[in-house]
Amino acid sequence: MFGTTMSKKILLNSKEIYIILHRLACQLIENHNNFENTVLIGIQPRGIYLAERLVSILKNDYHISNIKSGQLDITFYRDDFRRREAPLEANKTNINFIVEDKNVVFIDDVLFSGRSIRAALTAIQSFGRPSDIELLVLIDRRFSRHLPIQPDYRGRQVDVINEEKVTVNWKEKDGKDAVYIINN
């Protein structure tokens, strides 16, 4: 076949996502017990849905109340400012606590080059010095890292080529839960 045909392949359906989210929640409980000294930070713009979902599973299904969570925007900390075609657009940061001596868990949908997490590591310092930082991602794109950054919790590891795009859809934002691999 010649020419450019866009193909869209489903990687995870809503049932698979449901199971993975519950597994990730259990793994978090395993390491963080009652979340007394832990804060969950969703990375803007797309990590916040995963973070909200995990918080609600932890609250409703595992009865862990008082989970501290926030949203971190990394736009002003990125290393590609003035190097992109399109200007960067900022999102809201919503962290109304200090992370000093806390166990921070960054939550994002897809881990690709690792540059967003690099920026997040810098950004979070504005809110104090965490005791440690972990990374949870739904999709870990293997072999595509530009930096020595690896997740501590991963939903699914995938091997996709650089031209392919992995998109995560969420019920509350996009109508249904699904993960696609899109080939342009």
């Binding site: 925007d73 736009t75 002003f76 900390y77 400012f81 003035r82 190097r83 399109a86 200007p87 960067l88 657009e89 900022a90 999102n91 809201k92 940061t93 200090i98 810098t122 310092q125 504005s126 809110f127 104090g128």
Partner: protein, 310 residues
């Protein structure tokens, strides 16, 4: 829309409504940043900014410098009183010499109208006007509107009266452009000698009675009497000015609504505004100063974003 329609901030006159919305939206994010324990972001770490102040300034200069530093830019400062300007150097020569030191953006205040516009056509750097003579002071107008938006929810449809020395005020002209662009109703109030002759051509009404003006408005932006720009006497005495146009507690209590009081500073306490009004609950003068840093961060960030990385 995530990019400004202009390459320099020379005046509000050159902006459109979408530009103002973008600046405010960006300033919202920076306002959150400057209220963090660590009030700094690394965005502009490879940008160098020169602040050229050919005229005295306290708050504007500090505010710009702080905004630049909170964006992690490298900053150099220049005051005309301590420079080669005194030795007869021209504006372009001064600017080009500074640019040879690899400066990306210039913030300039100058006593002459149009100085920033002139500079933008002759030197290769982004220019931000920090006040050019009696012409424009765009970041002041932006922070004034931003403060009104913060206090009252929106600017559209609000009634704003600008009180005092309209003739010599760059703050007044920039404010008029900005408020009109956002759909506010604007009146000016002051002594006849300090109201420009063609003010009606801007589509404004003039009110000469301060009490009536205050009864009409939601917000009163009170300007400083600029004695340094008055070569002749525009009114008989400061005492008479404050009796006719000064805002005091008694006057505010005599109107039956709670209006917002603004002042761009520096205040002549007891002349255009009394201390009990300047420090009252309804005064947002210090909020204006805080918002000034966020607005200037937004303007500089958005202009720097357009500079090609070399």
């Amino acid at each position: 829309m995530s990019q400004l329609s202009v390459q320099h901030l020379l005046g509000i006159k050159h902006l459109n409504k979408a530009d103002i919305d973008l600046i405010f939206k960006t300033a919202d994010h920076f306002k959150e940043v400057i209220n963090r324990p660590i009030k700094k972001v690394p965005s502009l770490r490879d940008i160098t900014i020169a602040n050229l102040f050919f005229e005295n300034s306290t708050r504007t200069k500090l505010s710009f410098e702080l905004a630049e530093k909170r964006l992690s830019a490298d900053v150099i400062n220049f005051s005309a009183s301590q420079s080669s300007v005194k030795k007869g150097e021209t504006l372009i020569d001064t600017a080009n010499n500074i640019l040879s030191m690899k400066v990306d953006l210039i913030v300039m205040r100058h006593p002459n109208v149009g100085a920033c516009d002139f500079l933008s056509k002759h030197v290769n750097a982004r220019i931000v006007n920090a006040g050019d003579g009696t012409h424009e002071h765009p970041t002041q107008a932006l922070l004034d509107s931003y403060s009104i938006r913060e206090k009252l929810g929106e600017v559209t449809g609000k009634k704003i009266v600008i009180v005092g020395d309209i003739l010599h005020s760059r703050v007044a002209l920039s404010n008029i452009y900005a408020l009109k662009l956002q759909g506010a109703e604007v009146k000016v109030c002051g002594p006849k000698t300090l109201i420009p002759k063609y003010i009606e051509s801007l589509g404004l009404q003039v009110e000469y009675n301060i009490k009536k003006a205050l009864e009409w408005c939601d917000v009163a932006n009170v300007l400083r009497v600029q004695n340094e720009r008055m070569a002749i006497n525009y009114f008989p005495s400061t005492r008479e000015y404050s009796q006719l146009f000064g805002i005091n507690k008694k006057l505010l209590d005599s109107i039956d609504k709670n209006i917002v009081i603004m002042h761009p500073g520096p205040i002549n306490r007891g002349v255009e505004i009394t201390s009990d009004v300047a420090d009252a609950e309804q005064s947002i003068i210090l909020n204006q100063v805080e918002n000034g840093v966020a607005i200037r961060m937004a303007v500089i960030y958005l202009l720097a974003q357009q500079i090609q990385h070399k």
